[in-house]
Symmetry: C2
């Protein structure tokens, strides 16, 4: 079974929802047969690449005072800590996450996506320094086990994995996602938002129990006229 | 709708089946909403990289004489020509296709997969020279619009896109594919073998008509307790 999780590094509920989902997955009896895939979703594709402190951004976005915005951020931080997640006391910033998503697709090619995603969340939510500082993304890629020269090349080439990011976003949109985190189980069941772990447990069970065998046209008929195929034993040959 | 086609460059029925599928797709009213994706399937993952003429291979595999094997190859060639496909008169060879599949995944990253796949089939089935000749794969990659230096680097790095090939093969196996071509419509309907175009038309219609809206847990409840999310308008904040 495949669980695709659309999320953005800038999204605290993605950080929290991921932990809740992983708590559910830990106790899921078929967890060895569950593949988890990160999918890209930019909350603000037009955000500047220069990082800005989150609290003033929140204040401007919601039309609230800085103290109120700070209190909102602290309530989210407390929710994260209640999940056992580290969360910086102050100074979290935000910026354009397109390059992070591109790098996550590059990491996927090398089996390092999950490692890099964890490091990106940690860098953005749990560490004092900015995850968006120059050079930081390549550092994190190397920490995730990727080749630094290749990672720097991916970063420098704005087209690299850009289509993969946009394809993820188009798919999310086609499935009705308007926000993140957005969890999709085998493309047959979706869960929107940082639901409690119990909801993810129920979704895992429901999706597992409703697995279907693929209805197949022409299966097992390699030698049948008009449905010829090649297999490990060779290719069908038209009879005449 | 997404149609995934598992195939191998060494597989004549994949070459033929692809043409039949494309004929069906051409007249499908929703063809603009159909995305076609190549998936890797090696008919013989242990085949040597050094190309060998197909006819003696067939003779050895089926325990038949060279003349019989030649006749079998000619019957397949005639079937291909009946689909309007060019097919070499003689001398087709076969070899390990792992590098071709890796290159197709690299091409996918740059939106050039369909172009490269067509060129690979043409090189293997329609041209006198060997598709497996040294340097030929990079030449074809360049012809498909890829950067030659990058393509050469992908070819030289045996690990590049290797996981993507193996993941495709594991997925095919999990879905019950034992041979190719193997067509999967939105992971909800499969078609095995080079079926007639009419069968693909019926499969496209059936898959299209049975599209389901994703059942969603927690949709539209961004501010609901326990299912918080972030969207373009910002993030939910826990109330207290």
């Amino acid at each position: 079974m495949r669980v695709e999780i659309w999320s953005d590094i800038n999204c605290p509920w993605c950080y929290i929802g991921k932990a809740r989902f992983e708590r559910a997955l830990e106790t899921f009896p078929h967890r060895a047969d569950v593949e988890v895939v990160h999918r890209s979703f930019e909350l603000d594709a037009r955000a500047p690449h220069q990082a800005r402190p989150v609290v003033p951004l929140l204040a401007a976005k919601y039309g609230m005072g800085l103290e109120q915005a700070e209190a909102a951020e602290q309530r989210i931080a407390e929710t994260a800590r209640a999940e056992g997640l580290a969360y910086v006391r102050a100074g979290r910033d935000a910026a354009n996450s397109f390059d992070m998503h591109r790098m996550l697709h590059f990491a996927a090619e090398h089996g390092r996506q999950a490692a890099l995603l964890d490091l990106l969340y940690r860098a953005n939510f749990a560490e004092e320094g900015s995850a968006f500082a120059p050079g930081r993304l390549v550092e994190l890629a190397v920490e995730a086990g990727l080749d630094g020269t290749e990672a720097a090349r991916v970063l420098a080439d704005r087209a690299a994995y850009a289509d993969a990011v946009r394809e993820d976003e188009a798919t999310a949109s086609a499935m009705g996602a308007t926000g993140v985190p957005f969890f999709v189980f085998d493309r047959r069941l979706g869960v929107s938002g940082a639901q409690p772990a119990e909801t993810f447990t129920a979704a895992l069970e429901q999706a597992w129990d409703s697995r279907t065998v693929l209805p197949l046209i022409g299966g097992g008929g390699e030698d049948r006229e008009g449905g010829e195929a090649c297999g490990p034993e060779g290719c069908a040959v038209p009879q005449r």
